[in-house]
Amino acid sequence: MLEALQYIYTPQVINGLSIGVAVILMALGLTIIFGLLDVINMSHGEFYAAGAFISVTLMAMGISFWLCLLLVPLLLIPIGFAMERLLIQKVFHYKDRHILTLLLTFGVAMVLEDAYKIIWGANPIKPSAPISGASEFLGVMFPNYRLFLMGFGAILIFCVWAVIYKTQIGAIVRAAAYDKEMSSSLGIPVMRVYALTFAFGIALAGLAGVLLAPIYSVFPTMGRDFILMAFSVVIVGGLGSIKGAVVAGLLLTQLQSISSLFISPVWSDPLVFSVMVLVLMFKPAGLYGGMKNA
């Protein structure tokens, strides 16, 4: 029994954790964008893909993986800023802006996905993991890269939380989310804050893309495949809640991971989706609805 725990479940748990941190990073971006901007970013998955594709190209040019981790978010930030400023803010003043921004970001997603196909082709690219080899952990062998993912991801998540809740910038962002008019009258450049927040959110998605590329490989529809999982996490955790994104991210990836022991992988997505639907039906605010509630 103990052996089963060790040799069968533990690997799944650890694998789930390593995927989980990347999923959480992506969900964090999504939930922050919703919490502050009230925008459902249907193109979020495409920025995840963007991160992966850009890192693949950079690495092909000889740039190290580690440098990519830094460069990709830096490259995505101005793109996100531009998109928010030039596109999203154009439809913001309409009464039905929720649907319009949804449609808009959906359109952007469409464009991006096809762009990836054009630029990089439809075939999957699998970059090699920057850390090779395996180590023993709790008596089982794990690829080092996965162990690294867990650790690095956890640090990143902690950093995001710290930035939002412990820094002045984070306070400004939260203030702008809480009361736009008041913040504006206090001299906070609300529009710029919005654009930066959006940029920050998609940069996180891109980062997740870089991190998961060696595991899931890179192909044009990877964004769309992943977005349901990201939205499920955000919804189960509560739109706008960081704590929710973390908890739900861990829960759902563990669910996916452990369930793959019992059911064919085809059914793991429907399973996660069913959890999301159940949460939406019975507790629509999710586990911790609202950014104001941390």
Binding site: M110, L228, I235, L280
Partner: protein, 330 residues
């Protein structure tokens, strides 16, 4: 001002009907197959777009998964035609009933939520269904099902062969027109008013005596049936069905079509479908990357003309009216 919108809709209806008649006559006379089939396909996907518009433009619910019912109708129709009987009426009848039941069941899941959540639930439902179908051996898995027989449709004029592109075009035109007519009828009833009221201010509805759930459910089921019946026509045209019919791109394209034509106008989606299908066909001769062009057009429309083509027509009509008023006063 509302009169203008009604006039614009009437105008587009007439133009489309006229074009259809012209196409049929000219096409049949010249023995054309390509354009008639293209037009038929645009009608079929126009029906799907109709169902999206009913939910989005009238009730205010964005469904990102109508392809679920479209594909359901297509697969069911193919199965009936292959295994049961090669009968148009039977296929349509069974699809209507089955999709109404499916819509009714799905409404209990989807209607628990609104706005963004509704969009995500419908998105997810379609993704899950598509994945299930994709992996189901008995439905042909990723290859789908082929070999749907050519229909012989009974009419008072004798048996008609649907392999005749002109005739089948007319049949589809008739079917989609009936669906359109049904939706327009509902819009002209108090139920239609309740739908518009829900879109405008759902909260107030209870205080004038109605739970919003009832009318929403009616719309949801109607949308499912419209999408499914449209889908049922697909295997009759192409002779096969595949899981791609349930993929998100189909739902997504339908939404683009609706926004392009004009949300909430019902005829707009049909117009949008005609234009988009033609457009795809034209672009398709150069490159298979029509998505990026369509996506760019879509983004442009959402930003600069969110009321779509019919909205542009209405604006134009208003300007012309204003000029006429000025002219009168001189």
């Amino acid at each position: 001002m509302l009169n203008t919108k009604a006039r614009a809709i009437r105008l587009v209806e007439l133009v489309l009907l006229g074009s259809a008649a012209a196409l049929f006559i000219v096409g049949t006379y010249l023995g054309d197959t390509f354009f008639l089939r293209l037009a038929t396909e645009s009608l079929i996907f126009g029906g799907l777009a109709l169902s999206v518009d009913l939910l989005l433009g009238v009730v205010g619910l964005l469904s990102l998964g109508q392809a679920l019912y479209f594909g359901f109708g297509a697969y069911l129709s193919a199965l009936i035609l292959k295994e049961l009987a090669s009968s148009f009426a039977l296929a349509i009848l069974i699809v209507t009933i089955a999709s109404a039941i499916l819509g009714w069941v799905a409404s209990f899941i989807a209607l628990r939520s609104k706005g963004v959540y509704f969009a995500l639930i419908t998105f997810g439902l379609a993704q899950v269904a598509a994945k299930v179908v994709y992996n189901t051996r008995s439905l042909g898995a990723s290859d789908g099902m082929m070999g749907v027989p050519i229909l012989q449709i009974w009419t008072p004029f004798g048996l008609i062969d649907t392999s005749h592109p002109g005739i089948f075009f007319l049949i589809c035109l008739l079917t989609i027109s009936i669906l359109y007519g049904i939706l327009k009828y509902f819009l002209s009833t108090p139920t239609g008013s309740l739908w518009l009221a829900i879109q405008s201010n759902e909260n107030r509805l209870a205080y004038i005596g109605y739970k919003s759930k009832g009318p929403k459910q009616v719309a949801f089921i109607l949308a499912a049936v419209v999408a499914a019946v449209s889908g049922a026509l697909y295997p009759m045209l192409r002779g096969f069905v595949s899981p791609e019919l349930m993929f998100f791109s189909v739902s997504g394209n339908a939404v683009v079509t609706v926004v392009l034509g004009g949300v909430g106008t019902l005829i707009g989606p049909i117009l949008g479908s005609v234009l988009l299908t033609s457009f795809k066909s034209v672009i398709g001769t150069w490159t298979s990357h029509h998505h990026i062009v369509i996506g760019l057009i879509f983004v442009a429309i959402v930003i600069s003309a969110p009321k779509g083509l019919i909205g542009l027509i209405v604006t134009r009509m208003n300007k012309v009216d204003a000029k006429k008023e000025e002219g009168k006063h001189e």
